[in-house]
């Protein structure tokens, strides 16, 4: 489907060049469609960014929901943290889009609902896992804090901060989450 091909190309190009610099003609060329068709599907850069983000979020969601039944509740949450880190490849590319979204959404209020929606879904994803695990804590509060830490540490790791390699981001987020969940620090070994 041409719309999917356009979105695949858009995600890759936006991650590479940035939403400000990306050329619609280039996305069309990558997707093997006409520039007019890209304009037809996405009237503005904001619409293109919003759709590309939704699309890549949905794709990630496909892998997210797989096999959670086999994991313990602690493993499941560790796995969720893992999926939120800017690891090389698709997750790093999604992270670039995420950072582009922050700035763009501050300037273009029409993108705020997209951002709010993505955050709300991340929030619910964590709250559900915390509830399912039966942890004795305020799940909403823990989810909020986890997402804030994820963003704060993740952006540093993404930018290659020598003080914050992705391994450290993982450890730092997990250390707080683990304490919030009431797990003894030693309990995460497995």
């Amino acid at each position: 489907m041409s719309r999917e091909r356009i979105l695949d190309a858009a995600v890759a190009r936006i991650a590479g060049d940035g939403i400000d610099a990306v050329r619609i003609a280039r996305i069309a060329m990558d997707a093997g469609v006409s520039t007019a068709l890209v304009h037809y599907h996405f009237a503005t850069r904001e619409a293109l960014l919003a759709e590309a983000l939704e699309y890549s979020f949905e794709h990630a969601a496909d892998t997210r929901t797989v096999d959670t039944g086999e994991l313990s509740s602690v493993e499941r949450l560790r796995d969720m943290v893992e999926q939120c880190l800017p690891l090389p490849g698709a997750q790093e590319r999604d992270w670039v889009l995420w950072v582009e979204l922050w700035l763009r959404a501050v300037r273009h209020p029409e993108l705020r609902p997209t951002a709010a929606n993505l955050y709300a879904r991340m929030h619910i994803w964590f709250v559900e896992a915390i509830h399912d695990g039966g942890f004795d804590c305020d799940a909403d509060r823990v989810a909020d804090r986890t997402l804030a830490l994820m963003d704060g540490f993740g952006v540093r790791a993404l930018l290659g901060d020598p003080d914050m390699p992705v391994e450290r981001a993982r450890e730092e987020v997990w250390a707080v989450l683990e304490a919030d969940l009431g797990l003894a620090p030693a309990a995460h070994a497995g």
Binding site: G18, D20, V96, V99, E100, W102, L103, A105, V106, R107, P109, R112, A115, A116, Y119, H123, R141, D144, R145, L147, A148, L149, M150, D151, G152, F153, V155, R156, L158, L159, G160, D161, P162, D163, M164, E172, V176, A179
Partner: protein, 194 residues
């Protein structure tokens, strides 16, 4: 003919103040040097004399407003007797009152993604903020207010969580208020500094 006394150095702060305003309103991409010049009451060549590129203008504007922030911070913190109160004030000053500033940071993040020089600038500014937090933590440890945690590690954690919440505040997330942010950050600090 007597040489005219040069006032060029006086224009630099005015240009940087104007640049911070214009860039936070419009973004680096849509900022024109002439807009900054106009707001600063000078000419485009007058701006370009000091700042040959827009990225440089962004970096210097951030550095400049950072300097101003730290100059005020000392006075702000002097009013408080305890390190815990000082830390509380720092948290308030960061995301809650820095909306325009948050946007400049976001500009820096996006541009640093594709420019190692800007990434290095960001690291420097970030380190300065973390050091300021760590100094207050050490002050509290010296006075016996805080426990023996590694001050730099706790500062790193607080810096990150403040940024994370600043993003949500800037995005106007209705679920996140300056007050809840402060409570989150201070609870986190307290749990580490027992």
């Amino acid at each position: 003919m007597s040489p005219r006394p040069s006032t060029a150095h006086l224009r630099r702060p005015a240009i940087l103040t104007a640049a911070a305003e214009v860039i936070s309103e419009r973004g680096v991409q849509n900022t024109r040097i002439s807009d900054v010049a106009e707001r600063a009451g000078t000419s485009a060549p007058g701006v370009l004399y000091w700042f040959p590129t827009k990225d440089q203008l962004l970096v210097e504007a951030l550095q400049f407003s950072d300097d101003r922030f730290y100059a005020n911070l000392t006075g702000e913190l002097e009013q408080f007797a305890t390190a815990a109160e000082k830390l509380g004030r720092m948290v308030e000053l960061w995301p809650a009152e820095g909306d325009g500033e948050t946007v400049l940071w976001m500009e820096l993040w996006v541009r640093a993604l594709r420019d190692p020089q800007l990434a290095a600038t960001r690291e420097g500014l970030d380190r300065r903020w973390r050091d300021a937090i760590a100094d207050i933590i050490r002050e509290g440890q010296a006075s016996g207010e805080f426990g023996p945690a590694d001050a730099d590690d706790v500062a790193l954690l607080l810096g990150a969580v403040m940024d994370g919440f600043a993003i949500q505040l800037a995005l106007g997330d209705p679920a996140v208020t300056a007050d809840t942010v402060k409570r989150h950050c201070l609870a986190l600090a307290e749990s580490r500094l027992r």
